[in-house]
């Protein structure tokens, strides 16, 4: 047992931590969920206890996952699940730059860990992990007996190889920024099923990072930089067809390593098909209503609105840390001046934007990239809409006569366009003349790190520190990490962040988070209008349907009721 676990238990008992948080940290530190629950079983529930219904059912045996969840009537085998998805071009999984890229592929290739819908991380291709007391040495024990779908054994070489790909500058993975505490030399293969990571700085979120969506494990014998050309994975499906813009066909394999409730290998389904219906949400809605598709991956708010009263729809809503980031490039005029950035931030009426752009589904943001769903979130007031102060800040920056700026938005994200339009109106009294430059989604993703002013969607990540290190830090030479789209470098912020990443005590970490949030609010490069509520929509006949805050499609245990 990790030595910090008693501390955690103490915190839990004192009510400083919810049951859910306790379970998460216990599992983060390598304790199985069952054992962690047993540890606190006798404790009096703290004042801030979450309703017990939110805690996943206790599995009978450790390790926690992948034990099959008990399914009421017994799953039916067979059938095809048809899912609406975005079928974009993919090559190297480590280079995925959006979740939709990873969703069809994650049923073929898998991750070392799994963060479930309750934000709790479990071992997956790993059997277990252990962290040293100082959080600098992490030992990963690989699950044994797993076969790749080409018959090869899953071994430590695969993991080492894949990790080296993540950290290879030439690959250009976002993981390089996320796992900046790791270098290729510090990945040590102990034996065929054990790997030790020697971190440069303490880090609690290693298991969460291993589930970051580009981090699918590849077979070192076959992988040559393009997954489509050699779709070898450990997952329950094999890739039968991948047609960009059309469909992905996945066929169940017979010898998958996880078993279902009926004792047979998963998956229950014979086949899964992802279908690209283009960007027309009316086609998605009509296809769902007509029964031509069974599920909608990544539905927008308008899809939710149209289907919320549909008797056949099973909609799982989840609060998330997913958001639309108003990002200003600090290396480009006029955003080099913090007064201008602050002025634009002050032009957001957060509650109103949430109500109009996202129909009130979610929570208002406060212009720093840590969400209320994150464990160490430090509560701060929602900044008020203050055009007068914005105007004086603009004057201070030398734009007394007003400032014309162009904002890049992708026209298919309707809520982003609405946000831009609301901002345009509300920023006018402060002296901003905002020109909205709409472009197709694909064009935006081609330019997202490049535009001066734009709105970029960021997906949810389980820990507040994760996205901060991914998007708002710079390397030792002062160069922004790959996904630092605003080029914002702040030494104090970076060092506080490193400190937070090595701090286990939630209260202590919350204190650091308060400072981080303060800095990002006061001199950062972004505005956060709102945190999106998101949905997973499926037909009622799809059983075991769950939401996931990151919109990861975790469909291994789905089955279809006879229609």
């Amino acid at each position: 047992m990790h030595k910090a676990i008693p501390d955690l238990k103490d915190q839990y008992e004192k009510g400083k931590m919810t049951r859910r948080e306790f379970l998460r940290y216990a599992s983060l530190l390598g304790m199985s969920l069952g054992a962690a629950q047993a540890l606190i079983a006798g404790c009096a529930p703290p004042a801030t206890e979450v309703p017990p219904t939110e805690v996943p059912p206790t599995p009978t045996t450790a390790p926690a996952v992948p034990t099959p969840t008990t399914v009421p009537a017994g799953p039916r085998r067979g059938g095809t699940l048809r899912v609406r998805g975005n079928i974009g071009r993919i090559d190297h999984p480590a280079r995925f730059s959006w979740v939709a890229n990873s969703n069809p592929a994650r049923h073929v290739a898998e991750y070392l860990t799994l963060t479930d819908e309750n934000n709790i991380t479990h071992p997956y291709l790993l059997d277990s992990w252990e962290a040293s007391d100082d959080l600098l040495t992490w030992t990963l024990n690989l699950r044994q007996g797993i076969k790749w779908n080409n018959g090869d054994d899953f071994v430590a070489d695969d993991v080492v190889f894949t990790m080296e790909e993540w950290l290879d500058e030439e690959v250009g993975s976002s993981t390089l920024g996320l796992m900046s505490y790791l270098t290729e030399e510090n990945i040590e293969k102990v034996n065929d099923h054990t790997i030790t990571l020697h971190l440069d700085s303490p880090q609690i979120a290693v298991p969460e990072h291993l589930f970051h969506y580009p981090n699918q494990i590849m077979n070192y014998r076959t992988f040559e930089g393009d997954f489509i050309q050699a779709p070898v994975g450990t997952g329950p499906y094999t890739l039968d067809e991948y047609s960009e813009g059309e469909r992905v066909v996945l066929k169940a394999r017979a010898d998958y390593w996880q078993t279902g409730a009926d004792g047979q290998p998963l998956p229950y389904l014979d086949e899964m098909v992802y279908i690209d219906l283009g960007e027309e949400v009316s086609a998605w809605i009509a296809a769902f209503q007509g029964g031509e598709i069974d599920a909608i991956s990544e539905p927008e708010a308008t899809v939710f609105l149209a289907l919320q009263d549909d008797p056949n729809a099973n909609i799982m809503g989840t609060p998330t840390g997913q958001t639309r980031v108003l990002r200003m490039r600090v290396d480009k005029e006029p955003w080099t001046d913090n007064n201008v950035r602050m002025a634009l931030k002050l032009c957001q009426d957060h509650e109103k934007i949430l109500a109009m752009a996202h129909f009130g589904e979610g929570a208002p943001g406060a212009d720093f990239h840590v969400a209320p769903v994150h464990p160490a979130y430090c509560e701060r007031p929602i900044p008020p809409y203050d055009p007068d102060r914005a105007r004086s800040l603009l004057e201070k920056a030398g734009y007394a006569d007003g400032l014309t700026v162009e904002i890049a938005v992708a026209s298919d994200w309707t809520d982003v366009v609405s946000y831009a339009e609301i901002l345009k109106q509300d920023a006018a009294p402060a002296g901003f003349d905002i020109q909205i430059n709409t472009m197709p989604v694909s064009a935006y993703w081609d330019l997202w790190t490049e535009v001066d002013l734009g709105v970029t969607p960021w997906t949810h990540r389980p820990l507040g520190t994760m996205v901060l290190s991914l998007a708002y830090t710079c390397d030792d030479e002062g160069e922004p990490v790959p996904w630092n789209e605003t080029r914002w470098c702040d030494d104090e912020f970076t060092s506080l962040l490193t400190q937070a990443e090595g701090t286990l005590d939630v209260e202590e970490r919350r204190q650091i988070m308060c400072q981080l949030e303060e800095i990002q609010y006061e001199r950062g490069s972004i505005g956060i209008p709102y945190w999106q509520g998101i949905w997973m929509i499926a037909h009622k006949k799809v059983q075991n349907w769950k939401g996931h805050p990151t919109q990861y499609d975790l469909f291994n245990e789905l089955w279809l009721e006879e229609a």
Binding site: R95, S97, G172, V249, A283, G290, E292
Partner: protein, 435 residues
């Protein structure tokens, strides 16, 4: 007659040639060049130059036009001194270019330090590496050069010791990686538009031809069905309206035709989905292609797209037919027939219709242009994976080879139907034959 057809064919070829230049020029020399469009505004000049070289964009316009039209492999083959061939990588849709050695083995090369390594493809698909420094040719100034095929489907010229640096773009991260030891010159290998290889899609990394073939098939089915329904219907309704000139039947048909034609298909399409699919649940509201053959497995999904196309196209042909019929019925010879006391039905069927149909049939063929325009919007609304959606998405993505090829195909259809229209017209109307 044969003479006439040959002449028309030659004109068509000339038109297609002009069209190809037009498309090529627009796509290639548009403001904000292709490389910039793909790279974003903040790539450094060196990165852009390197990228342009790898895509062959640094070559003169006419060379690129020739590459695009008839391919670059034959030119590269002369430089390398071996025939080149294109094969599919086993089990995938991806093409690979190889040089063919004298004994028939496929070979490519890579440069490691100062050594040229030959990659020979064995019959079982594996690749064997061997040193191949004999290929270096040294000129009077002592510079060693070698031509070969690299592993990224370029014909390239390496120069010993030049250590040319080049840039690889790590797309997702939006940053750049500098590499050294790159070749001096690149010729991207392709067979060319006319030989069925319009290049590789920037968006998908796959050959445009493969995707395009599927998309054309889907669109041909959609447009074919729409055409087969619209045309007879429009002609019959037009004739009826024309025969009843000024009566309520005519008024209703004409006005209805005008209104449906004047209502944009994007509006009718959306409302048809809302009312017929969503509220009344009569027909599927989207075209879902769960497999290649979905269109045959579930033909009902074509009802709404076809209906939308019908509504937009019907009115135009109907009105032309009506006008033509009205005109014919006023002709002296028809009046004479009436005076002679011939039965009404005989006059109409034997004399009027044949002449009245002449104008609409030409218009119908010209109207294929409109039908093609209609499918772009209709395919977008219904999520139909056809040529129109492909072109639209390629245009949005600035996918240069895809849009060039798609546009050529569309124009080819349009020009081809015009040719057919001309020929049909001369058959129907002997007076202008051979003119």
């Amino acid at each position: 007659m044969a003479n006439f057809i040959v002449r028309r064919l030659l004109t068509m070829l000339l038109t297609m040639f002009i069209v190809s230049i037009f498309i090529f020029a627009l796509a290639e020399i548009a403001p904000g060049n292709v490389a910039r469009n793909i790279l974003g505004a903040f790539a450094t000049p060196e990165q852009e130059a390197s990228f342009r070289e790898q895509l062959g964009l640094n070559q003169p316009l006419h060379i690129r036009y020739i590459n695009w039209l008839v391919g670059s492999d034959w030119r590269a083959s002369r430089l390398i001194g071996m025939p080149l061939t294109r094969i599919k990588k086993p089990g995938t849709d991806f093409y690979q270019w190889w040089a063919v050695d004298e004994d028939g083995t496929l070979v490519r090369w890579k440069l490691e330090e100062e050594d040229l390594i030959a990659l020979r493809r064995q019959t079982d698909g594996t690749v064997e590496e061997s040193l191949d420094n004999d290929r270096w040719q040294t000129d009077e100034e002592g510079v060693s050069r070698a031509w070969g095929v690299d592993t990224h489907n370029h014909a390239v010229m390496w120069e010993k010791g030049s250590g040319e640096t080049y840039w690889m773009r790590a797309k997702a991260a939006g940053w750049w990686v500098e590499k050294s030891g790159g070749p001096r010159t690149y010729i991207p290998l392709q067979k060319g538009m006319l030989r069925g290889d319009p290049g590789q899609s920037v968006q998908t990394g796959r050959p445009v031809a493969d995707t395009l073939a599927r998309r054309i098939q889907n669109s041909a089915i959609l447009a074919g069905i729409a055409f087969a329904i619209v045309m007879p219907l429009a002609l019959v309704l037009g004739l009826i309206a024309g025969l009843n000139e000024g009566k309520p039947t005519d008024r209703i048909l004409s006005v209805a035709g005008l209104i449906t034609t004047s209502t944009p298909e994007f509006a009718t399409g959306i409302f048809l989905i809302l009312i017929l699919a969503s509220w009344l649940k009569l027909v599927p509201g989207a075209t879902v292609f769960g497999s290649e053959r979905a269109i045959f497995e579930n033909p009902k999904m074509l009802i709404l797209p076809v209906l939308t196309l019908t509504l937009i196209e019907l009115g135009y042909v109907l009105r032309i037919t009506r006008a033509s019929m009205v005109e014919v019925m006023r002709e002296p010879y028809i009046r004479t027939a009436f005076i002679k006391g011939l039965p009404y039905s005989r006059i109409v069927f034997k004399h009027a219709i044949r002449n009245a149909l002449m104008a609409p049939i030409t218009v119908i063929m010209l109207h294929v242009n409109w039908l093609i325009g209609g499918i772009v919007v209709v395919e977008a609304i219904f999520g139909f994976p056809g040529l129109g959606k492909y072109l639209y998405e390629s245009a949005l993505y600035k996918d240069i080879f895809a849009i060039e090829a798609g546009a050529m195909v569309m124009v080819f259809f349009a020009v081809g139907t015009q040719l057919v229209a001309d020929i049909v017209y001369t058959f129907l109307n002997p007076r202008i034959r051979y003119a």
